[in-house]
Amino acid sequence: MPIENIDTDQIIPARFLKATTRDGFGKNLFRDWRYSNDDESQPKVDFVLNHKIYSGEILVAGKNFGCGSSREHAAWAIKDYGFKVVISSFFADIFKNNALNNGLLPITVSDAFLQQLFQLSPADTLTVSLEAQTVCIDKSGQKESFEINSYKKTCLLKGYDDIDYLINMRTSIEQFEQQIA
């Protein structure tokens, strides 16, 4: 999706935020870009998710991806649809945290590399290694490294989350509260 500033209202419009669970948001991912008149029998043929040929687990999008609302439903929708990785040259802060907290890996690459990805043909494939922190264009073997802080990397690789960590900190947190009181 070589579109910049894709906001979370496009990823999941507000009218689909009425659920009280985290499941099933993939159905409405990019709802208004995917269908005409909000009708699933009228897919917009020129929208990328409606092309059968693009069936991977990596979403590649223009810069400032995930801007706008803090709705975590955006990350849930992308994950539920089947994506494991989002690649862009720039992510909005809250979206990035939300993605990481849901095991969806946001990868920031250089503008030049992103443009190269957009030039690839639909049949080309990419391989992402979180361990090695690289994105590789399989055809050419060309690689780009990406940054991720080591704490978050460990969490993703081992399936830990921040809450596990924080709960174990409760005693220190209580001590902190007494200090500031």
């Binding site: 500033n5 906001d7 496009q10 810069k63 803090s70 907290n101 978050k152 924080l166």
Partner: protein
Amino acid sequence: MAKTLFEKIWDKHVVKQIEDGPSILYIDKHFIHEVTSPQAFKGLEKRGLSVFRPQQVVATADHNVPTLNQHLPIKDELSRIQVQQLIENCKKHQIELYGLGHPFQGIVHVIGPELGITQPGMTIVCGDSHTSTHGAFGAIAFGIGTSEVEMVFASQCLMQTKPKLMRINIEGELNKGVVAKDIILYIIAQISASGATGYFVEYAGSAIRALSMEARMTICNMSIEMGARGGMIAPDETTFQYIKGRQFAPSGESWNQKVQEWSVLYSDADAVFDQEIHIDATAIQPMITYGTNPGLGIAINGFIPVAESIPDEGERHTIEKALKYMGLESGKSLLGLPVQHIFIGSCTNSRIEDLRQVALLVKGRKKNEHVQVMIVPGSQQVSKQVQAEGLDKIFQEAGFEIRQAGCSACLGMNEDKIPAGEYCISTSNRNFEGRQGAGARTLLASPLTAAAAAITGVVTDVRELM
């Protein structure tokens, strides 16, 4: 060592710093609402945990509520269930809820400040990106996702990486017809919708110091629209006077002590920012947006950029796509464009001062017959004040419809939506495609500019009516 306002507050709230990782940041106040909290409560319960510090959590129902007949059950089933879930969750976890029917109910970013819950020096979070609003009081306030809401429930802490710091200095006197909304739309148009991503912004300078608290909230509110995690303004006498005497404000001896603590909350003279921007207040005109992100704004008497002349391909494509959606043309003025809807409300511009400005302009005038005008006060308390000051009569005589408190037509979630293809001048914060309803076309502007268009039925330079 010299510190910024942000650093003074941040440093006091760090429980622990993880090596090559985030800080564990203590949160003083946690606001919640019906849309982004249910999954957090569920997650917490799944782990067999209860809310760690329920007394530091305050809840309200705002996003998904109707703005008519709030005494009746909510018609939409899913919305009703979501609001009901909030009631049950708050009861179960002993969280104070200002729900529908409560005299304190309203948009979360309106009620926190007006009740005196929001105070200088605090860390404040909410599962809502416009939490940046509370930064107007000299607090570190930012929006979080639902997993983070769960973290705060579980531990009253968050894992956060310290952001970079930016200061935006605005010096000089404002032109006639220019209000806080124009300042922030101007800034975003200058630095773009992603110009402050990765930063926390402090607004400073004589133009900011001269603003009321309501105006400062409008500015901090839209910090997220340039990508900033939050915005803040050093507290001063204006801040203290606003807080004093409010429901949950400190009182008696504790008041004096607090004011003393708050008085040191400013950036030291030699504090260093990662980036500084200087803006001349006299260069700002009343603003309006023409595109589908808040950075695509122009002076009301300016012209839409000519897309073909923009060298950056991505930016050109963004503008072309936006103009197609908006049904507007490159190089044209927006003045005179017929609009069908006016929405005055949202966490950006639904406070009493906003409504006073509108009332002053429309007093003795009538709305244009082709526009529908909706005024949605930000809270029950604002509604009450509107009546006490007789502003409701002015609005009724002008043909404006006054609704009950809620997020309303800002986000196309509740019953209040703008029909596809129609134009709405909105005092809210986002003009994204479909934000106010699928296919709706939003032009962001100040309450004054919105009111001017309500009277004329077309995009109007408010100065012509002043």
